[in-house]
């Protein structure tokens, strides 16, 4: 129980919540506004974080450029996924998108010479001996930030604390931008395509363009989440990018209310605490289970929460019920 009392642990949970929040925001614009069922979102995160790591470690490229390139590759991944398969209808797109992210993961798994394969980013071939880790620049930024923040917040400030602040500022900015985007007439057309292709097309709207743009914007946001994911763990492994991660994002999305962004940060924190906090379920009845069994309890709880929500409150914490259920 002692870990429960340590603020550091909760700050870590907060950071992960923020990263998941950013990740989910990408899904929100795709599904909540565009009705696009993307189950391969984690692929964008894998693309951006690995691109960043490879560029820094193998090519000695500047951190900022590498991070930007990572996001750009995620955007390209989204464009590729959209251009090839977005003409499929909703559920078919969902299936193909899962395949997309799995392909990305397997390519990473099997390209030892490029990605380090099973051994993860530790085995990415180093060119020149100055870049053993891809987080060097980031670490020095964090250290400087810590020096600035310590006089303000005191002892509590450590790497994790700084990371949490940066991640949540990023999430805040992105939330602001996305909610602005969702008030434009572009979003109105996208909302119309969520329900029907023919009406917007008959009014002169190129439905495919709007959907493709939504997928690309979502992928950029997913790519940004990937950069933070890579920086937070400072070690990448292909197993970080299981389809399960996408479903965590979906859970947050549905919990917060898919059609609106305002519930998203709260849902992300709820998810983070449930996910991270469930390891402290050592009291009865959970005390009857061993540690590895308890790990599944949180997934069960997440499942139960989702089912109850779908039955009682399909619009999530903040969404409008009619916008989800009106037929």
């Amino acid at each position: 129980m002692t870990a429960l009392m340590q603020p550091g642990f909760w700050v870590f949970i907060l950071t992960m919540s923020g990263i998941y929040g950013i990740f989910t925001l990408g899904l929100q614009i795709q599904y909540g506004v565009g009705g696009i069922l993307n189950f391969g979102h984690v692929g964008m995160m894998a693309l951006s974080s690995y691109t960043m790591a490879i560029l820094i470690i193998s090519h000695g490229i500047n951190f900022w450029i590498a991070a930007a390139a990572g996001v750009a590759v995620a955007a390209l991944g989204g464009a590729f996924l959209g251009l090839t398969t977005l003409r499929l209808r909703g559920d078919y797109f969902a299936i193909v998108s899962i395949a997309f992210s799995e392909i990305v993961r397997y390519v990473i798994y099997n390209s030892d010479g490029l990605t380090g394969g099973v051994q993860g980013s530790l085995a990415i071939p180093v060119i020149g001996e100055n870049y053993p880790s891809y987080t060097d620049t980031w670490d020095s930024i964090m250290n400087r930030a810590r020096d600035i923040l310590t006089p303000i917040f005191g002892e509590i400030v450590d790497r994790e604390f700084v990371m949490a602040i940066i991640v949540w500022i990023t999430l805040g900015i992105l939330l602001l931008i996305v909610s602005r985007i969702e008030r434009t007439s572009w979003a109105r057309v996208l909302r119309a395509t969520r329900e029907d292709d023919e009406v917007p097309a008959a009014l002169g709207k190129n439905v495919f363009r709007f959907r493709l743009q939504a997928v690309i914007i979502g992928s950029v946001i997913g790519g940004i989440a990937g950069i933070y994911w890579g920086l937070e763990s400072s070690l990448l492994s292909p197993d970080d990018f299981l389809t399960l991660v996408t479903f965590y994002g979906w859970m947050i999305l549905i919990l917060g209310g898919a059609t609106k962004v305002k519930g998203l940060p709260i849902a992300a924190i709820f998810f983070g605490f449930l996910y991270g906090g469930s390891r402290f379920f050592t009291f009865w009845p959970f005390s009857q289970l061993d540690a590895s069994q308890r790990a599944y309890v949180r997934i069960m709880i997440i499942g139960i929460v989702l089912i109850v929500l779908m039955m009682r409150r399909p619009q999530g914490i903040f969404g409008k019920r009619q916008e989800m259920v009106l037929e």
Partner: protein, 258 residues
């Protein structure tokens, strides 16, 4: 030739073994109200789908204002000025009534993501578009539902909304798919009023589909009768009444010989 806004030449399309439209030829004069009537399965709605680009013809050509359009995507055809309504009226149920209308606005700078960084242009358009939408809502008498989801509207109100949305797009040719079917007589009067006003004010051309001749008798300049994917009669409403082929098609008289 110059006052033809739409020319459909020998257009054919089959679905599986069914030739839904089988060599239909017709044209529409600028500023006219032309009605296409015919029994179930005559190919009327398929004809509309062909004109609006929702499906592509197997053969034949479709010209709008003298230019070929049958190979264009639906949104390109809409851009040219052909706007359609849908059989049974299609509204976006989970958008507000007002948003449904504003969806019809053309050349909206806000539809382009680049203009996200040009809020001035976006806002200016939105304000003006909103005003027009509210004006139209008042005309069709459902302005009190402006901020409600369109999904709560009744069938008749949806028809009005569908029509108003098409008008928002400033069409030059308006395709109306059974605008009067299932609408009560008072509402039909209202629709006719709106259409009439539009016609005189904007020199709008109408092509409409109806089930039977009675409905369109008094409002049409010209009636085209379709049966089994072909045009079987074409002329002034009065002349259609006397046409033997039309009577056969509707009453299902056995053909004398083949």
């Amino acid at each position: 030739m110059n006052n033809l806004i739409l020319e459909v030449n020998d257009v054919a399309i089959s679905f599986g073994g069914v030739r839904a439209v089988n060599g239909a030829t017709l044209d529409v004069e600028v500023g006219s109200v032309t009605s296409v009537i015919g029994p179930n399965g005559a190919g009327k709605t398929t004809l509309f789908n062909l004109i609006s680009g929702a499906i592509k013809p197997d053969s034949g050509t479709i010209l709008f204002e003298g230019l070929e359009i049958h190979n264009l995507l639906p949104h390109k055809i809409a851009d040219r000025g052909i706007i359609r309504t849908f059989q049974g009226a299609k509204v976006i149920k989970r958008l507000s009534v007002l948003d449904n209308l504003m969806l019809g606005g053309q050349d909206n700078p806000g539809d382009s993501l680049v203009n996200f960084f040009n809020p001035k242009a976006r806002k200016a358009y939105e304000v003006q578009c909103r005003e027009r939408a509210i004006d139209l809502l008042k005309q069709i008498g459902i302005e009190r539902f402006a901020d409600e989801y369109a999904g709560i509207l009744s069938g008749g109100q949806r028809k009005l909304l569908d029509l108003a949305r098409a008008l928002m797009a400033n069409p030059r040719l308006l395709l109306l798919d059974e605008p009067f079917a299932g609408v009560n007589p008072t509402l039909v009067e209202k629709l006719l009023e709106v259409l009439h006003a539009l016609r005189t004010k904007h020199n709008l051309t109408f092509l409409l589909i109806e089930h039977d001749l009675e409905t369109v008798m008094n409002i049409s300049d010209r009636v085209i009768v379709m049966a089994e994917g072909r045009v079987i009669a074409d002329g002034k409403p009065n002349s259609i009444y006397q046409n033997q082929a039309v009577i056969d098609a509707y009453l299902g008289t056995r053909k004398a010989s083949k």
